[in-house]
């Protein structure tokens, strides 16, 4: 069965979406990712969507759901690499991705995750 790979890097999980996802594939990713967060004791999830040519309401909801579920499982999620045309379209569509943290690229996303996890440990 077709699946989107999830890479483990230390206490983080990295997902790079490189295909035009149909809805079932998106749902499978959501299930796989929540299972992996628990199994790997992950503290952070980075989702790279720089290859995605569109984000419609279904994919937008998937991203918001992943962020919400990972929060409940004590992990932070950052979505990185959204293309400008995708961002413009998302806002016009009416999606604000409330509760989803975003960063420009993978490097900044990793910085954001490290910072948030460190400040949580300190607090």
């Amino acid at each position: 069965m077709e699946r989107i790979p999830i890479l483990k890097m230390g206490e983080y999980l990295l997902v790079t979406i490189q295909v035009d996802m149909h809805d079932r594939l998106a749902m499978t990713l959501q299930d796989d990712l929540t299972a992996r967060i628990v199994a790997a004791h992950a503290k952070g999830v980075l989702i790279d969507i720089s290859a995605l040519e569109i984000v419609d309401s279904f994919i937008g909801r998937m991203l918001a759901d992943i962020a919400a579920m990972s929060r409940v499982l004590d992990a932070e999620t950052v979505v990185v690499g959204m293309r400008p045309a995708v961002a413009i379209t998302l806002v016009e569509l009416g999606l604000s991705l409330t509760g989803v943290r975003t960063a420009l690229n993978v490097e900044r996303g990793m910085d954001m995750l490290r910072h948030r996890i460190r400040s949580r440990l300190d607090g």
Binding site: E53, I88, T89, L93, G94, L95
Partner: protein, 134 residues
């Protein structure tokens, strides 16, 4: 309005939704749409195709390149013979949903297109036509 090119596709499965996104993108590129306009019409197509699959029980789409008074655009006609929409005005509101989605499909597709029309009645199916001009 002149139709320059036209093709019809089935809208039955979530794989069809992906294929429709790609076909609409190709048409928009051929017409010289810029990246933002391509993204908008493809996203609108994705929303309407998913509605056709989930609420209309499947149907078909006609993807056309059209010309009107010297301007060119992509026109999409989604048709199904599903249960229809009892209250179209209500279904057009942001956040209204009978399914599990966000209720942005119809209202979002309207915002992402230049022309939008919908015909639907209980038991008569649904037909949505959108056009985005270059």
């Amino acid at each position: 309005m002149t139709v320059l090119a036209s093709d019809a596709r089935a809208v039955q499965t979530s794989e069809d939704v992906v294929a429709i996104r790609q076909a609409v993108r190709k048409r928009a590129v051929e017409l010289g749409f810029n990246l933002v306009d391509q993204t908008k019409i493809v996203t609108a197509a994705s929303e309407l195709a998913r509605n056709t699959v989930q609420h209309g029980g499947g149907g078909r789409v006609i993807i056309e390149a059209v010309e009107d008074f010297g301007r060119r655009g992509v026109r999409l006609t989604f048709e199904d013979e599903g249960p229809g929409i009892p209250d179209v005005a209500l279904a057009m509101k942001d956040g209204f949903t009978t399914g599990t989605g966000l209720g942005l499909g119809l209202s979002g597709a309207r915002r992402l297109s230049n022309d939008f029309s919908i015909q639907s009645a209980p038991g008569k199916g649904t037909r949505v036509v959108i056009t985005r001009w270059r």
